[in-house]
Symmetry: C2
Subunit: 225 residues, 2 copies
């Protein structure tokens, strides 16, 4: 079996008011994105890495790789308007039978074990979606209605990697884009496949706000890089 990782770098840094996209921010002396690629490179299944990046960032990334002497093999392909389009572009580069992990560029703390489990479960069940349960109570508030408590035990906060047999992705990404496609699981689910959750990792945080970067720096030191 052939294994792939599509690393999706969609962020423009809007939530942090940054000039540079989040995936390029430095974490422990090098861009976040390099940590992410290293994690996949450490997986024993030796996945082929496809990095999907906004075309205007390709040169910048190339320069960063030279500056940091970054040698991990990966292809860089061009991103699309939405995350959905970027993943679809990534898929075009995968031929034949494969297991494909899709991962946020800004989740640099993903560990090799979770990646491995994700590939194994997807190979067996069709897909594997990393998820953790919320610590907080959760409510739902629909337009014009009062909010309503949900049962916390039934809820899952979804992470990446989200890993699939490539056939599921090929079929799912033929669909037209919809607003509610906030991740790959939602796209694949809409194409008619059952979604399988895999216990994620609380340290596998998504760097969205400034404080997340500080948290990541802390967690990274603990991880002993």
């Amino acid at each position: 079996m052939k294994y792939y990782a599509i690393i999706v770098a969609g962020g423009k840094g809007n939530r942090m008011n940054l000039a540079v996209a989040k995936q390029f921010l430095e974490l422990d002396g090098k861009p976040i994105l390099m940590h992410t690629l290293e994690a996949f490179n450490q997986c024993v299944l030796n996945p082929e890495i496809i990095l999907v990046l906004n075309i205007h960032q390709h040169l910048f990334w190339e320069e960063l790789c030279i500056k940091h002497d970054f040698k991990i093999p990966h292809q860089v392909i061009k991103g699309g308007q939405e995350r959905f389009d970027s993943v679809r572009n990534g898929l075009k580069n995968i031929k034949g039978k494969a297991i494909v992990a899709i991962h946020d560029a800004v989740r640099p703390l993903v560990n090799a074990e979770l990646i491995l489990q994700s590939y194994q479960m997807a190979e067996e069940k069709g897909n594997a979606i990393a998820a953790i349960q919320p610590v907080d109570s959760v409510r739902i508030k629909r337009d014009g209605q009062d909010s309503e408590a949900l049962s916390r035990d039934e809820l899952y906060l979804i992470q990446t990697p989200q890993t699939f047999q490539v056939e599921q992705l090929r079929k799912a990404y033929l669909q037209p884009y919809r607003n509610e496609f906030t991740d790959d699981a939602s796209v694949v689910e809409r194409a008619g496949f059952s979604i399988h959750l895999l216990p994620g990792d609380r340290s596998n945080i998504k760097i969205t706000y400034q404080q997340d970067l500080e948290m990541a720096s802390f967690l990274l030191k603990k991880k002993g890089f």
Copy 2:
């Protein structure tokens, strides 16, 4: 109008495998709980503070207060079996008309502004529940069924303070305990009141896991205590 804060310290530290309950762990040189009480003490409405604590921790807390020369006025009353019972015990100590903020002992980073807004909104609307929206996609998985995507835009992760006109709490806490009462909003909602959400604060984290304590330490330093 009279303002109260019921600080609920339910934790036994199980999730961190600790001998000491989470609220007593040191954060920046003093127990988490002291930070929490200080935040309420800084509110301009000058709320009266009621600390609900397991009876076996009262003496330990007293000693901590002496050791740290902690002078913020507060009553200490005894906790119950469930968080629900603890809040009910706290309520018994409130007479007459009042606005009551209920707050987790292990959310020490709550800021005075959120507390103030919470009292003001509850006074106007009946209650005010601090909440933030999730960054991650969220799924629901009911027993024996496949998981299903929820619309992230409609979801809220609930924090504390949860603040109420005391009449709502008095009526709500006459109900028998139910498993789905994971917070006060769910208790009050079940008594027939509409729940009003107030924008919370991403820094107002609940210290549940070891990494949260480290995060809190970071955030505290930024806050400039």
